[in-house]
């Protein structure tokens, strides 16, 4: 191989890399642009909010002040947080043992599939009876109602992911534990669960996001004190007109914590998903 061809090869490779970087940068710009616009909307004076071509203006902190200190948004965030965490905990507690059972006792791919099929149930069909039942129980307008409703889609997804994670763990692990005198349940609880922890985290994050984002159930099941964040964000759209400035603040407040968390766990998330959840 002579020097010039190698040079040509190198520069070609560099060119490809530049092209890749350009495309990725473009994608990043498409993702970031709405965020930038939202941030600007949150500090724009009211008469400029929907002026398309205004980038320089005297910024105002009024929206931030109003939303953070004088609205229910902080309470809505706490509500959303309580709902999502409770949903995920219950989903893990019920889904984890079942997933282990499906994985270890080879209940067959039909079971797995029906777990996933449960996720497909349209919320519209569940909401009607759930609404009537929760209503009879006096739970309408409580966070408990939303948690129950969110379980309908979080439990199947979490369980289904966990089956994949358990599949990845070699059987020898618990066989060894059982030789050491553990019962199978102890082996599951004390040996397998700690090993599958990254998978649990990945499934939990997924469940959390699904629950955190839902508006459909929360819109119908909450009110007043129990309103969750998506419902509150929709609430900035009133007959006064959509209050873009305040809504922008609420969106940013809602997104930033999750983005920070996601930033730290993503690598983990990708790796643990790659570990098994993305297979049948």
């Amino acid at each position: 191989m002579t020097a010039p061809t190698q040079d040509g090869l190198l520069s070609r490779r560099r060119l490809t890399l530049v092209a890749i970087e350009f495309v990725v940068a473009l994608a990043i710009a498409i993702v970031l642009f709405p965020f930038l616009w939202i941030f600007l909307a949150s500090i724009k004076p009211p008469e400029l909010v929907t002026e398309p071509n205004v980038w320089m203006f005297p910024p105002t902190a009024a929206n931030w002040h109003d939303v953070l200190l004088e609205s229910d948004v902080p309470k809505n965030i706490i509500n959303s947080f309580v709902v999502s965490v409770a949903t995920v905990i219950i989903a893990l507690v019920t889904g984890c043992p079942a997933a282990y059972s499906f994985s270890r006792f080879k209940t067959g791919s039909g079971t797995r599939f029906s777990v996933l099929a449960a996720e497909m149930m349209p919320p519209a069909i569940l909401i009607l009876p759930l609404f009537l039942v929760l209503f009879r129980l006096g739970l309408i307008d409580t966070l408990a109602a939303v948690v129950l409703a969110h379980l309908t889609f979080v439990v199947p997804v979490v369980t289904w992911f966990l089956i994949g994670f358990f599949d990845e763990i070699p059987r020898e692990l618990e066989e060894q534990a059982m030789i050491d005198g553990y019962t199978q349940f102890q082996a599951f609880y004390k040996v397998i669960l700690p090993v599958v922890r990254p998978g649990l985290a990945a499934a939990a994050v997924f469940g959390f996001v699904l629950s955190w984002n839902d508006m459909f159930y929360a819109l119908i099941l909450t009110g007043g004190e129990s309103r969750t964040l998506p419902v509150a964000i929709a609430g900035f759209w009133t007959f006064r007109g959509i209050d873009m400035g305040k809504m922008a603040v609420a969106i940013l407040v809602a997104v930033v914590p999750i983005l920070i968390i996601s930033f730290f766990i993503q690598k983990h998330l990708v790796r643990s998903l790659g570990g098994g959840a993305v297979k049948f």
């Binding site: 490809t16 282990y100 497909m120 349209p122 519209a124 069909i125 199978q184 984002n213 809602a254 790659g274």
Partner: protein
């Protein structure tokens, strides 16, 4: 009882309460003239509700719209997600940063995304049409021809990250040896992708497709925030239609029947996909 079943017990109990019971209840409702403003006078209607909705043009339109939306949005997301995953994998610098940013949209609550794009894409007041107009492109994003497509693009903005996440995980988990062999044989990037990456990724692609498609059938927030199903019936989607019938017009009987028709269609789709997958 065998451990296998004891482990499934919590899940089975939870699913019975939150899913089986509501499903049976709404099946019962679907055969009655069940109105929330007339609960003292619920009448048995037999299959009349089903007969009506199957001949009802708006319901048919909503079904067609939803399927078009799902097919379009999920295809866009699949292609973009796979492309970006492959590019990100080859990125040398800023890989973590790029991934963190590109995954961000899926963490925003969809109602916020909807309201945001309602103004970003607004023909008079929005930034995007404004700058497109400066280069001579005039697009009415929410007119009767484009509205459904615009909603697909918004869906793609928010959910391509999910596909990206799944594919990054899938790529990470691929065996290294075949690729090394291909490199040694001097196979071109395209040949490697077509004959190696794609077949190996197939299971992941199918899983990602199914999860996204089932989820896209539930599209509600964008419609609610932007078009309300219009212009005319152009963006009336199935969940929005059921929500209106059940919770705005209080005709629960018809709404439940619609939901069951939807379940039937989803069942059919899932079974087709499932058999397709087993044949691999």
């Amino acid at each position: 009882m065998h451990l296998r079943f004891r482990l499934i017990l919590p899940l089975a109990a939870a699913m019975t309460v939150i899913m089986a019971y509501p499903l049976v209840f709404s099946a019962w409702i679907s055969f009655h003239d069940y109105r929330l403003t007339r609960l003292q006078d619920v009448r048995f209607r037999g299959v009349e509700n089903y007969a009506f909705i199957l001949s009802d043009a708006p319901f048919g339109r909503a079904l067609v719209n939803t399927m078009t939306f799902v097919a379009g949005a999920v295809s866009i997301e699949l292609v973009l997600g796979l492309g970006l995953a492959l590019l990100l994998q080859r990125l040398v610098r800023f890989q973590n940063f790029a991934r963190a940013v590109l995954l961000a949209p899926m963490f925003i609550t969809p109602i916020a995304v909807g309201l945001m794009f309602r103004f970003l894409l607004n023909s008079e007041l929005g930034v995007i049409p404004y700058y497109l107009a400066t280069i001579g492109v005039e697009i009415a994003w929410f007119d009767e021809r484009l509205a459904l497509f615009s909603l697909m693009l918004i869906d793609a903005w928010q959910w391509t990250p999910f596909m990206l996440l799944m594919f990054l995980a899938g790529l990470e988990a691929l065996p290294k040896d075949p690729f090394e062999a291909a490199r040694v044989d001097g196979a071109s990037a395209w040949i490697t992708f077509w004959n190696l990456t794609l077949p190996l990724l197939r299971p992941v692609i199918l899983v990602a497709l199914i999860i996204r498609a089932l989820d896209a059938f539930k599209v509600f927030e964008y419609v609610w925030a932007i078009t309300r199903g219009g212009p005319g019936d152009a963006t009336e989607t199935i969940l929005f239609h059921i929500y209106k019938t059940g919770f705005r017009f209080f005709r629960l009987g018809e709404a439940a029947a619609m939901a069951y028709v939807l379940i039937g269609i989803l069942m059919f789709l899932v079974i087709v996909l499932y058999t397709a997958m087993r044949r691999r």
